[in-house]
Each structure stands twice: as structure tokens, then as C-alpha cells.
């Protein structure tokens, strides 16, 4: 085999390959031997069909498979010789067959890049929120979780529950009829027009709303308001705690864990961003495309021009971060044990079979390696604590729901 490198970019290679036709025959013979073992033809015992007959009958298939084998072998030979790491499948073009077989292979490779300092990265971490604030938030959430409803005669407001009969008309024909439908005013799943119409309604009231081409005839059967329970000694006893102090203690313990995890995750994200800023290099398109598809799949969105424009940037960052993390994992010899992978497989309740085993094990292995490497970076980072002071200007634009109590307005 002889080859010339036609294009040698950091992430893209094009190779012109010339192979003697006899090489193809070698692969055809390999394919014949593979096929022969299980082939049964009328007039022949299983495995006894002569080579010449197999060649004639399965000429096209054999040739296609042999070509595939030939291309794969040449591809691996070239990438091994040049110490390239492929990032995409090899694409064959310009095939010419004569005494020699000539073709061009195009594929993408992972670029060779030198990684900047990654041990001891300086990063800021916010101080955890004060205990009393965390406890207050936890109690608020607990009250919401155990909220009850109570019928009211006052006009309905946002967050009230409405029980209603609804009839949907389109072109003066009934399209749908729903009885005793219970909804919460302000629910995002409800149409805006319906949400607006429900504010201020009372029991037995009738309403008619027109949204686009449809008319909704609504009959209000019940208006209920949310009743939040008091978190006191009685509530604690119902929840099987000795007293309110024990409930508070447990709540605070849980919330603190969540807060610690949140701070750790935010710091890890900052570390990732610093790594991305420090290591700029071209990323193979195949990897970006792969990440883009993953994003679409997870958010259940279609492939469109607008989505491409929106997610191409994040996909590039994710692909680049993966390459950086893999490089660090290689340098630091961070490995995942088979046992750890299997533990996660069991925890995720994934059923492995012969078809999916390899891909799932490899995917989980990558996820765990990434996690371990980020943990390594986090442990070795120089973390400075930063108190959460929000300037008045920042405060206006701040959309976070949890905020430092001491800095809250008023």
C-alpha cells in the first residue's frame, strides 16, 4: 500500500491511497472463507460449496465487503503510523479500479494540543447561605409540599384551584367536552387566554373565551384556595419527629447538603469555564455534531436552522471540554474500574445485552472518567471564598430566587 497526504489540517486529513488489485483478492478470499462455513446450497453439503461458485453467486456482496475490509485496514494502518486519533469515520471518494485500486480517504482527527496549567486553578466560591435563611427556605418548601385546598367564595386569584366544565368549539362545532377539570390559575400548561379569563371568577359563573380559532365555554364549579400548614410541634409529630427542634435539625441538615452540593457544582462549572478559556483549539466537526445531536435529543427538539444557530456554540464548548478533560485524565492516569461502571449500571437500572453492552459501558465509563477528572481539578484548585454581596444595580437584574438575606432589599 502506498499513500500520500493530500490535506493535513489540524482536524481534517485527506489521504490518497494506492493498493495493488491483488490485495483486494486477498480480502475476497477472507470473505469467501467466512461465508463458506455457514453457506448451504442445493447440491452441496454445508461448508462444501466450491470457492469458484461462491465467487460467481456472491460477486457483488463479496467485493463490497472486501472493499470495506481493505479501506478499514488501510485507515488503521495510516492512523497508527502517523499517531493520529480519529474523530470521525473515514469517508471514501474518487474510487478508481484498474491494476491498482486508487481512492481518497477523508476523516477528522483529534487535534494535538498542549494543555495549560490545570492544577491549582484559582477560583472563587460563594460563602454558603446562613443557616437561618436556609431553614426559612426549607420550611417554606415543606409548607408548599403539604399544602391543602379549601373552597372559597371570594373571586379567584393566581394560584387558586378551579374546578370547571369546559366545552371547546371550533367553527361552531363541539370539538371537545371536559367535565370537572381541575386547574391551577397561572399554570404554564394552560393557555394564556384561559389563565387571564379565570382570574376573578366565582363559583357558578359562566365565561366564554376565544383563543385563535377556538371558543371555550367555561362553567365554574368550584374555586379553591391553597392553605399552607403551620410547621409546629403537632406537624412535627405527624411527620414522626419527637419535636419541632428535631424537624428543624433534619431540615437544616438536608438543606445544607443541597447548598454545599450547589456551591460545589457552581465552582466546578467555573473551573470548566476557566479551562475552556485557557485552551483554545479547533474541534473536529464530527464531535461538535455529536454533541449537538445529544443536546437536541435531551431537550426533545427538532433539527432546524434556528436550533443549529442556538446550540452550535454550546456544543462546540462541550466537545472541547471533553477533549481537555480526556487529556487531563490521560496525563493524571485517571481510570474507572469495571466495578464502578457496573455499580452505576445497576443503580440506573439499565439492562445490558450483547447489542448494547459495549456502547453503554463505554458511555458510562466516559461519564465517570469526566466526573473523576473534574473532582480531581476541584480538589486541587485554589478556592477563595467570596461573600455574596449584591450591588443595588446587580440586584435589579438578579433573577436568582435564593439570595443572601442580609443583602435582600428592605
Amino acid at each position: 500500500m502506498h499513500y500520500d497526504i493530500a490535506t493535513d489540517k489540524a482536524t481534517e486529513k485527506e489521504i490518497d491511497i494506492t493498493i495493488p488489485a491483488t490485495e483486494l483478492d486477498r480480502f475476497i478470499k477472507i470473505e469467501i472463507n467466512k461465508l463458506r462455513k455457514d453457506l448451504s446450497l442445493k447440491g452441496f453439503r454445508k461448508g462444501k460449496v466450491p470457492e469458484s461458485l461462491i465467487r460467481t453467486r456472491y460477486h457483488d456482496t463479496l467485493k463490497a465487503q472486501a472493499m470495506n475490509g481493505l479501506v478499514t485496514e488501510s485507515f488503521f494502518k495510516i492512523i497508527t503510523e502517523n499517531k493520529w486519533r480519529p474523530a470521525s469515520r473515514a469517508e471514501m471518494k474518487d474510487l478508481k479500479e484498474d491494476d491498482e485500486i486508487k481512492f481518497r480517504l477523508r476523516f477528522e482527527t483529534i487535534p494535538n494540543f498542549e494543555i495549560g496549567d490545570y492544577v491549582g486553578i484559582e477560583v472563587f466560591q460563594e460563602e454558603p447561605l446562613p443557616d437561618d435563611f436556609l431553614l426559612e427556605q426549607a420550611i417554606k418548601e415543606l409548607r408548599e409540599q403539604h399544602a391543602n385546598t379549601r373552597e372559597t367564595t371570594r373571586p379567584a386569584v393566581v394560584d387558586d384551584f378551579i374546578t370547571m366544565d369546559i366545552e371547546i368549539f371550533e367553527n361552531d362545532k363541539t370539538k371537545e367536552n371536559k367535565r370537572n377539570l381541575k386547574v391551577r390559575i397561572g399554570d404554564r400548561n394552560l393557555l394564556d387566554g384561559i389563565n387571564k379569563a379565570l382570574v376573578g371568577v366565582r363559583k357558578t359563573e359562566k365565561k366564554q373565551v376565544r383563543v385563535d380559532k377556538q371558543t371555550y365555554k367555561i362553567y365554574i364549579k368550584k374555586v379553591e384556595e391553597k392553605v399552607l400548614p403551620n410547621i409546629d410541634a403537632d406537624f412535627a409529630k405527624v411527620q414522626k419527629f419527637e419535636g419541632i427542634e428535631q424537624l428543624h435539625k433534619k431540615l437544616l441538615e438536608n438543606t445544607k447538603k443541597i447548598e454545599e452540593k450547589r456551591l460545589e457544582d457552581t465552582t466546578k462549572e467555573s473551573l470548566s469555564n476557566i479551562l475552556l478559556e485557557r485552551n483554545q483549539f479547533d474541534v473536529p466537526n464530527a464531535l461538535i455534531e455529536n454533541e449537538y445531536r445529544t443536546i437536541l435529543q435531551r431537550s426533545n427538539m427538532p433539527d432546524s436552522e434556528s436550533n443549529k444557530e442556538r446550540f452550535r456554540g454550546p456544543a462546540e464548548k462541550r466537545a472541547r471540554l471533553n477533549l481537555i478533560i480526556n487529556k487531563i485524565a490521560d496525563k493524571e492516569n485517571i481510570q474507572v474500574k469495571e466495578e464502578e461502571i457496573m455499580n452505576l449500571v445497576t443503580a440506573m437500572d439499565v439492562k445490558l445485552n450483547d447489542e448494547n453492552r459495549e456502547s453503554i459501558v463505554s458511555y458510562i465509563g466516559n461519564v465517570l472518567t469526566k466526573e473523576k477528572t473534574i473532582d480531581f481539578l476541584y480538589k486541587n484548585a485554589k478556592i477563595s471564598k467570596k461573600s455574596r454581596i449584591i450591588s443595588p444595580k446587580e440586584d435589579i437584574n438578579d433573577t436568582r430566587s435564593v439570595r443572601h438575606r442580609a443583602n435582600r432589599p428592605g
Binding site: 461458485l53 465467487r55 463479496l62
Partner: protein, 94 residues
């Protein structure tokens, strides 16, 4: 009878494959075809010289399609020996 009607097809079996090595070719021919007719047909169709012909009437085989029983039609097998150095391209090579 036309030559094409006499030589129905070449037999492609393990045994026929083995015989081909000693220049013997096997064909399926109509049961009523004679050795003279077969010789003429082979020589004309494949432009070769035949030195010997052996024939055998193959037994009919019972076949069943659901409730109806019957037989697979019978045929005559002709083993044709060619003059040394001559051959028939029955199967094309790759």
C-alpha cells in the same frame, strides 16, 4: 429436437464439481433424449468434442402439497466426457 431443449441445465453439485476435474460435465436432459442427441447438442452448443457419454434416469421423488400427493418430475442425467484439453465455461469466474 432443438439443442437448447436437450441441454436443460448444467448440474451444479458437489459430485459434478469433483467430476469436472477429470473433464466430465454433468447436464440435466429430457428423459427421452438419446446419447447421440446429447452428443450433438453439447458439441454444437459449446463447440467441444465429446468422447464419451453416460446417462442415468433419475428416480421420481414423492412430493406433497397439503393434502395432494404427487411426484417431482423425473429427468435424465448425462455425464459428458470431453476430449482432453477442452473445457466448458459453466460458471463464470470472478
Amino acid at each position: 429436437m432443438r439443442h437448447e431443449k436437450i441441454i436443460r441445465k448444467a448440474l451444479i453439485t458437489e459430485k459434478a464439481d469433483r467430476l469436472r476435474e477429470i473433464n466430465v460435465y454433468q447436464f440435466e436432459v429430457p428423459p427421452r433424449a438419446t446419447k447421440r442427441q446429447i452428443k450433438k447438442a453439447v458439441e454444437n452448443l459449446f463447440k467441444v468434442e465429446v468422447i464419451n457419454i453416460k446417462t442415468a434416469n433419475m428416480p421420481r421423488k414423492p412430493r406433497r402439497l397439503g393434502r395432494s400427493e404427487g411426484y417431482k418430475s423425473t429427468y435424465k442425467k448425462a455425464s459428458v466426457t470431453l476430449k482432453p484439453g477442452q473445457k466448458i465455461e459453466i460458471v463464470e469466474g470472478v
